[in-house]
Symmetry: C3
Subunit: 311 residues, 3 copies
């Protein structure tokens, strides 16, 4: 695959296996940049990346900023709160103005599903749009960095048993993970959580639901724990944080049901003592901090690809 064929990066669901493999390979080639004394390569020198975060996110925003910086691009952090939209300008006009300033990539985080696609459609060929999380829809860069983490730890995908644990119903991360794992050939994908947080028709997605943690993670090679949103705990969907932890919180005892070489992942930020116990989060099976670092290599790869850099 040559670069420049893809203009926007909006969802895993619309991505070919070829494109996924290209990004993973490119991320692998960028990975050593983080260990160099000067963590910088000149690939995107003179390009401008605009961070458009309509929802706060330190982790994702920071990794995109660092990824852009390590490619030598310039980063424009637009404070959406105090932007011209406050003066009555339409969002569409604000974005078209930014495009007329010859920004190259918009990184968009928004609480509305489909926001990135809407903006990509508006921009056409002028600016590339990266979906950094849109409502309950998708969080495709998170899914790819998780694929990358799994590949670096396990070598290949097809024979793995992978469990995704937590609030599947509201999670854009879960949706993107499922699409991504299926695309690379994982056959045994389980989703684990209370009945109130797993969609009733989830089997249509080709995954198997479990309402019991021990059964769900049995013999698994990878466990992806999801963050439990505070809002859910306050709603009728869940009894309480401590009761959730009792049943679905990942502890060392429960981890013994999994494959001894299981790796434990989490998109972060983690709620210790809610979805995961500190002994597991900080333990030998955890790859949580490694994931954050891998996020830079993946985002470098995606930005390089959208900028028409050959892969």
């Amino acid at each position: 695959m040559t670069g420049g064929e893809i203009k926007h990066f909006l969802s895993i669901n619309s991505l070919s296996i070829g494109a996924i493999n290209s990004i993973l390979d490119r991320a692998e080639s960028f990975f050593p940049v983080g260990s160099k004394s000067a963590k910088k390569i000149p690939i995107l020198r003179g390009k401008t990346i605009a961070n458009l975060f309509f929802e706060p996110s330190t982790r994702t925003k920071t990794t995109f900023e660092l990824a852009a910086t390590r490619l030598s691009a310039d980063v424009l952090n637009i404070n959406i709160e105090s932007s011209a939209t406050k003066k009555g300008e339409s969002l569409s006009d604000t974005l078209k103005t930014l495009a007329s300033l010859r920004t190259d990539i918009f990184v968009v985080r928004h609480n509305q599903s489909g926001a990135s696609a809407f903006i990509a459609n508006l921009m056409g060929d002028q600016v590339s749009v990266i979906n950094a999380g849109d409502g309950r829809h998708e969080h495709p860069t998170q899914a790819l960095l998780d694929l990358f983490t799994i590949k670096r730890n396990k070598g290949s995908f097809t024979k793995l048993k992978i469990a995704i644990v937590g609030d599947i119903l509201h999670s854009r991360v879960a949706r993107s993970e499922i699409f991504a794992l299926q695309r690379v050939g994982v056959k045994d994908i389980r989703v684990v959580g209370p009945r109130t947080l797993i969609p009733s028709n989830i089997e249509c997605m080709g995954v198997k639901p479990f309402y019991n943690l021990e059964q769900g993670i049995e013999d698994s090679d990878v466990i992806i724990t999801l963050r439990l949103q505070k809002e859910r705990m306050r709603s009728a969907l869940l009894p309480s944080a401590s009761e959730y932890f009792e049943t679905f919180g990942l502890t060392q005892a429960k981890l013994s049901y999994a494959n001894p070489n299981v790796i434990v992942m989490h998109p972060g930020p983690i709620n210790r003592g809610v979805e995961i116990d500190s002994a597991v989060a900080d333990g030998a099976n955890s790859r949580i901090l490694e994931q954050a670092g891998n996020g830079i290599a993946i985002r470098m790869a995606i930005m390089a690809m959208l900028s028409g850099e050959r892969i």
Copy 2:
């Protein structure tokens, strides 16, 4: 003209025709930088530009930041709200401290007329000051980017008929535009708006007032629509936004009174359905998005000039 002769860029009224032409020529030479793959030239490498925005402005601040970045300068965004002035330090001390840190250019936006001149006077030869809009006084970089847009579209200035439409009374943009257009030799300048928003003695400035839009824009080659401040609509100066649009909002029907090749400009952000109809803002005569991009070339030219770069 050689660079370095001008220390501060405060107003159009104090600018010679030679300086204006130098800046327009320089902007033309910087214009192609925006289309290059690497939008960056090393002219201001190692210089520091401090953005001092006492009034919010996404568009102007962003274009200054991008202009500085494309000249390879470093940008310091000072958060005035949370700055040392909160700790009881005088503004003058905050600015003198910034100067002692060897910042090269202050870009100042302030709601008080004369604020930039006051700061320039305080700084003397230490730091160059650019007025990015001061109260009702001037907005000189906006006027120059509009001259630049007109020149790129019309070739020359002297025979043009130009109408400025809207709240002339409170607009720093209108004042700077009038000075700039006269300096480059435009003889037929009209200001158009309701009587409550046009100063009674406006003819002293050498322009002709019109209180009817169709008459004011008749046969015009350029229409500069001004943003209607929300505050004005709420005051006794105007009946309502919809009534204003009825009479002075620029629609395709009204545009037919102008020269068929008329170009329509607006400093932004635009209020659709108040001062301009969407069909005009997005239509073939509109140069609104082009203006935003031209703002980068003009601001690059001004910063290069103040830094003593030869023109």
Copy 3:
């Protein structure tokens, strides 16, 4: 001394005279960078400096940002207020995540004494931590930039008489100054202020207390005036700002008690008419603005040292 031996820069009290002299020498070698046309050297190219300011500080944060930029490092300004800690993530997890992103140096300002040491301990060898002020404990970069200012003005330290005037009791600056001045061999150090603002056992630190300004600064070569925190004025510790100024505010008349060549310093931001009169702050003996500029050279030296650059 070769670089790389020191991992963190947390306090003057833990710093050897050799390390102090190395930093002062290195700052002297960086000093001319601020006067060059391109104020930039490539020493820390590709390194990432994260500004972690839990307490607001325009001056210190800006000088660290400029120091990093002049060494060609990239700066990450983390907005602690809106960071992941708001989402229930522990501070420790936020910092470990930042470290996993391969940031090189944390610059930490915190209102808790010992916060920088706590973070340094958490980070181990992964990230270098610079204390940019922690509670009432220390502000070591301020003390070193003051040593640097004294050395540039007076040549050597040992025979100087130095008075520190103001709120000694609550001041991290005073503590760091005393440690630093003693380390470089200053024998005559006086602390001057009202009894309520000088610790009763201060003589244990090897300095002499004075409760009268004229006596305290008599024949002094250097006067370091401290900022009077507004909170103190409102408490029972002080009668009022004007009464404080009457007794301990530095005026030209009181300055006549000092050595005619005395230099007057202040960490800023200054309260004119409270701890210092404008005639003194802006007068021939003042080195206040020079200090701010010297802060960049010192912070460049410290960052270069921690990054393992040879001194």
